[in-house]
């Protein structure tokens, strides 16, 4: 309705305790107006709690929560103007699709003579025009999901809150709805906080990702930052496949001595607070003949024996048995036959840029 920027959210040291149990520990981050932020983490990470606190279903134990510059602690749930989409959809079973949507409209000051038109508009947005008079129980899971989304955005909330909205759907439907939801979100330019445990969903949909683990924020960043430059071992492991090398980081941050006795060139400009490990993504590694040696840009190398070859389709995954344990290497299938076979002695090579030092402490962020 209004053109002014709205939907700016700021969590400042928000904590939530249930008795002795800590659900969230001092979470601080901001969500810009119109931004799509995913809260990503395994179950029990505290993501849903952060969402529910913003919606007003839970109270904060510590810290403050600002919406458009106002502390919303004292604002009752029904006056917060957030639009929540539940994993179970929570469509009212005794009301039609239209009545479900009107329920919110009537309570958010939409004039009576515009209700019908508004219902039609939002149903068109989610490709469900013509479904207004159906009861939720007569809709498929995907249709119910879209009605729940339509109901939430219909009231033009300051923030759209989605709690595992696609969690109950099968993969094909989920993939399709991911695209629809991101389109809808950018069309409406609506601030969105999206809770998910599905890393692919977070990577494909979000502008920024807040990775959480056991009530703590591990890292905040864009999908590429989170994927390419994880700060902690948890983030590296949770998002995508990861090879880790245990060992010691040299004091100057230029070399990592692996336990297997290999010196790897790295670039680490801080003194780590946590225990460091070397991390390389499988698709950033390559294979070479063992004798060839590693030079040039891909000068980091460990040698080993190919223990397994898995043809995945577009790529082939090699498991290489090295002194530092099994290493996964993904290679694009540009040729029909694999160049390496089980039992081959190979050198696993990668560049300095793809050698990242991660620790077990989120404080080690640059």
């Amino acid at each position: 309705m209004s053109t002014e920027k709205r939907g700016h959210v700021e969590y400042d040291g928000v904590a939530k305790h249930y008795g002795d149990v800590t659900a969230v520990e001092g979470a601080s981050f901001e969500v810009e107006s119109g931004e799509f932020v995913a809260l990503l983490g395994p179950s029990g990470a505290g993501k849903t709690t952060l969402l529910r606190i913003l919606a007003g279903f839970e109270e904060t134990s510590e810290g403050s929560l600002m919406l458009d510059g106002h502390d919303i602690e004292g604002v009752p749930t029904h006056k917060r103007n957030t639009g929540m989409v539940f994993q179970s959809y929570a469509l009212f079973p005794h009301m039609t699709v239209a009545e479900n949507i009107e329920f919110g409209l009537k309570r958010n000051g939409f004039p009576g003579d515009e209700l019908e038109e508004r219902v039609e508009t939002v149903l068109e947005m989610v490709d469900l025009d013509g479904y207004a008079d159906r009861k939720p129980t007569n809709l498929s899971g995907g249709q119910q999901q879209r009605v729940a989304t339509a109901r939430a955005v219909a009231i033009e909330p300051k923030v759209l809150l989605m709690d595992e909205p696609l969690g109950a759907l099968d993969k094909r439907l989920r993939d399709r709805l991911q695209v629809q939801l991101t389109d809808l979100q950018s069309d409406l330019d609506i601030t969105t906080i999206y809770v998910t445990h599905n890393q692919t969903e977070a990577l494909t949909m979000a502008d920024r990702i807040v990775v959480m683990s056991e009530g703590n924020i591990e890292q905040i960043g864009t999908p590429t930052e989170i994927y390419d430059e994880p700060v902690t071992r948890f983030v590296a492991e949770f998002i995508g496949d990861a090879n880790f090398f245990e060992g010691e980081l040299a004091a100057d941050g230029g070399t990592f001595h692996t336990e297997g006795g290999v010196d790897v060139d790295v670039e680490y400009d801080r003194t780590p607070a946590g225990r460091p490990a070397l991390f390389v993504r499988p698709e950033r590694m390559d294979l070479a003949d063992a004798g060839a040696g590693a030079t040039g840009p891909k000068r980091n190398a460990v040698t080993g024996t190919v223990s397994n070859v898995l043809f995945v389709g577009s790529t082939t995954r090699y498991y290489v048995d090295t002194p530092d344990g099994d290493v996964m290497v993904d290679r694009q299938n540009e040729r029909a036959t694999p160049e390496f076979a089980e039992g081959d002695e190979v050198a696993v090579t990668w560049s300095v840029a793809n050698s990242r030092v991660v620790t077990d402490d989120p404080e080690d962020a640059p």
Partner: protein, 303 residues
């Protein structure tokens, strides 16, 4: 000998049930024991009362019913009975719904306390419980004294809570409260908390959530509770007899007519009136449930 006979009977019955269990015969067979009990102890006596109510010295006639309809006193008793039942039903709903809601949503401890507190009085005999109220509500009783302290009435003019409809209502409200709480609790358990959260999120305040979400979704349970409280209330005897004093309801009046004036015809006619009111309410309830599309109907269906 008898052992073998019992075994052969039980074998025949179970084979009959497994052979016919799915069919109409099997269903009737399973219902038979309950139906026989009801027939012998409820329907036959009711028919007997019906016969008494229409048998007069002048042969079969509706004279007794005419007598009741023409008599302003009986009318006032009937009206009072229904009025008391309605008030009790409304108060029990007003008390019972929040209790049931708190029991379902209020966490394990609170829920347990409410369930036990609601159930516990049922383990005390009705007469004893009612005499408890007799003591509490009488002159100089705890309730009256508290009311006087709070400024309702004075020591010399204590509020009259006994031997009138107020006393009957207070007693029945307490006695019948569990019948309201449990059906509502049962249905509230089936309503996900997220419906309420979604409604609040969409801008509804607590009253709006109650009115538009909880009330419609728990209607079958509420109706069942109201039906139980209302029917039990119009038929209640012990509570009005002890707390009502000379204030009569249909049940106490009927008993009085049978035991003191020995006028079986008139008493039976009044009793049939009570049956008719109860049946009308039950039929109305079932109609409403069918219209609402719910397949409830079970509760109180066989009165």
């Amino acid at each position: 000998m008898s052992q073998g006979f019992r075994e052969s009977v039980s074998e025949r019955v179970s084979s009959a049930i497994s052979d016919h269990g799915e069919g109409a015969f099997g269903r009737w067979l399973l219902l038979a024991p309950a139906l026989i009990v009801l027939l012998a102890l409820l329907y036959l006596p009711t028919l007997f009362i019906l016969r008494e109510s229409v048998l007069t010295d002048a042969g079969t006639s509706l004279a007794y019913y005419g007598q009741i309809v023409a008599d302003a006193y009986y009318q006032s008793v009937a009206v009072r009975t229904v009025k008391v039942a309605l008030v009790v039903t409304v108060i029990d709903f007003a008390l019972g719904f929040p209790l049931a809601y708190a029991a379902v949503r209020g966490g394990r401890l609170l829920g347990g306390v409410i369930v036990i507190a609601t159930l516990a009085p049922l383990s005390v005999d009705l007469v004893i419980r009612t005499y408890g109220w007799y003591i509490l509500l009488g002159r100089g009783g705890l309730v009256t004294n508290v009311l006087v302290v709070l400024g309702v009435g004075s020591q010399s003019h204590q509020p009259q809570l006994l031997f009138n409809t107020t006393g009957i209502i207070i007693g029945l409200v307490q006695v019948l409260l569990p019948f309201m709480v449990f059906p509502i609790m049962t249905i509230l358990h089936t309503i996900p908390r997220e419906y309420e959260e979604a409604a609040r999120n969409l801008g509804a305040n607590r009253f709006g959530v109650f009115l538009r979400i909880l009330l419609p979704l728990s209607l079958p349970g509420i109706a069942a509770g109201m039906l139980l409280v209302f029917t039990n209330s119009i038929a209640a005897y012990v509570t009005p007899a002890i707390l009502g004093g000379s204030t009569q309801t249909l049940a106490t009046k009927i008993t009085g007519i049978f035991t003191t004036s020995n006028d079986w015809g008139l008493g039976s006619a009044l009793a049939m009136l009570l049956v008719v009111v109860a049946v009308l309410v039950i039929v109305g309830y079932q109609r409403a449930m069918e219209n609402a599309g719910g397949s409830v109907g079970g509760t109180g269906g066989e009165h």
